[in-house]
Subunit: 307 residues, 2 copies
């Protein structure tokens, strides 16, 4: 599981930072990639990575500001043109379906894959075998969502030695024991699978927020996350502007990270006014040391928990 | 007057060629720039040029395929964000107004300048002091326009020596004489301004075509143009594909240039299948020697005629 930043700037593209898009690579886990936001030229950024558009299975839009969606029609069209045939689902605030429909219709773009669009509300918006995703509204003047991506805990290792002591040999029963079911052995003994499985393996939690003022929903979504991606458009000096325009400062992001007890904080959506991000990083690390400032094309590994 | 190519590729962006956009710089002539098409990331390409978005006064869309319009909402929004306050007019096929309206509305983008949208038909779509623009339908499966930009001829130089012989001295009368009006001199003599003005100065003609199969409208629009910009998506080998997909080959573009009697031909909208454009250029030059293949960021000077 990796997070690759495709665009880390705020509002308008600049040479050093494109507008927002983040790829959550779940290639080892499920062979697919999830995109979060799709600012203009996201598909251009992808050309400079190893990401295959046909691998992108879901796109989550945090909010409908242009710097987060204007790359979506082009990405959807090119994914088809480049041979993408597997279904793709877009999740986003109310209005995203209209925007996609009109863009594709006006340009007479016919996709060769099934496109599903889900206009989301707060709550669990997606629940699969391995992952579920929870959405909560943030504070950005317009509807802006944060997404908490939760990898479900996996059953622990089978305690094969303990089973051997009971005379149970590897075979079809193992799967049922591992699933924690009650099983009747050949000799008639009934055992509870749960007693023969080690502690479950913790799943990872990744929280990716849309643009927002510092707010309690940000902290709730980030509770005990392995990684929190928080916007930090401004430095502390610009705290008043940040508040006025519904954005956060680096320090506010760090305070939320600390309060939520996350493992690692990544700051993104950096205003073009900052030539270097030293000050932003210092402000964050003074409050929450495990902080990093994202750059375009920077990739962060999110290691799995061990058995 | 210069033509700057911001994107010269076909269909989808590639590392070497972005999707279509062309800037016609009229800075010396009228202090403004006209854009032709606005594929995704046109505003990104502009970041690498000396073009100021606020100088862009008009955007002409040839047709509504995504690779020609998906950069428009972002360009319009950023022009406002970067302080553009002067009015801007977009010309394009029916549907362009809807596309812009929905894109700006969904993203809650409020422009600080007056935006006019003109859905065009064939004919003179614009007539100003210095320039007029004529549109004609091409053959592209969808409505696709070619635009003929005509600089109006300017009055020739005032024949000051001949006027001196008549005893006319520089003064307010000069303006009326230059305008070709009848004027009564101090001594009562009536002279015709037209007799005291040199031959008028020819204006330039630039023809920019949307995607098209080779067709007679292309030749009509290009008649005696100083520069013809013609798509050449394919090489002669792919002539069948070109026809099937409503595109042109380099040779067809050259044949049209020759038939129209243009001065110079620029090929653009090059398929990403070609690593080099040598073959395309050779094919064109075999028919019409004054041919060139556009590259992203290449700029062509279109010299003014002398007095
Ligand atoms: Zn934003
Ligand atoms: Zn095209």
């Amino acid at each position: 599981m990796q997070l690759t930043f495709l665009g880390t700037g705020a509002g308008i593209p600049a040479k050093a930072r494109n507008v927002t898009s983040i790829a959550l690579k779940l290639l080892e886990e499920k062979g697919s990639i999830w995109l979060f936001d799709c600012g203009e030229a996201t598909q251009h950024q992808i050309l400079h990575t190893n990401i295959k558009p046909r691998r992108v299975e879901k796109v989550f839009i945090t909010h409908l500001h242009g710097d987060h969606i204007y790359g979506l029609p082009g990405f959807l069209a090119s994914r088809s043109f480049q041979g993408g045939e597997s279904p793709l689902t877009v999740y986003g605030p109310k209005g995203i379906a209209d925007y996609i429909a009109v863009s594709l219709k006006v340009s007479q773009t016919y996709l060769k894959y099934e496109l599903n669009i889900v206009e989301v509300n707060e709550g669990i918006i997606l629940d699969e075998d391995q992952f579920y995703v929870e959405a909560k509204m943030l504070e950005h003047g317009v509807q802006s969502f944060g997404y908490r991506i939760v990898e479900k805990d996996r059953p622990g290792a089978l305690l094969t030695e303990k089973l051997a002591e009971m005379g149970v040999k590897p075979g079809p029963l193992f799967r049922e024991i591992k699933a924690g079911k009650e099983v009747t052995l050949e000799n008639g003994t009934i055992i509870n699978g749960k007693d023969f499985v080690g502690p479950s393996i913790k799943g990872r939690i990744v929280t990716i927020l849309g643009d927002t003022r510092s707010c309690s929903a940000a902290v709730e979504l980030a509770k005990a996350a392995d990684v929190l991606v928080h916007e930090a458009t401004f430095s502390e000096k610009e705290a008043a502007i940040a508040g006025e325009y519904y954005h956060s400062t680096a320090g506010q992001a760090a305070t939320n990270a600390k309060e939520a007890g996350v493992k690692f904080l990544i700051l993104t959506h950096i205003s073009a006014r900052y030539d270097t991000t030293e000050t932003l990083l210092e402000e964050a690390q003074a409050i929450f040391p495990a902080s990093s400032v994202a750059e375009d094309f920077k990739e962060y590994e999110i290691p799995a928990y061990k058995e």
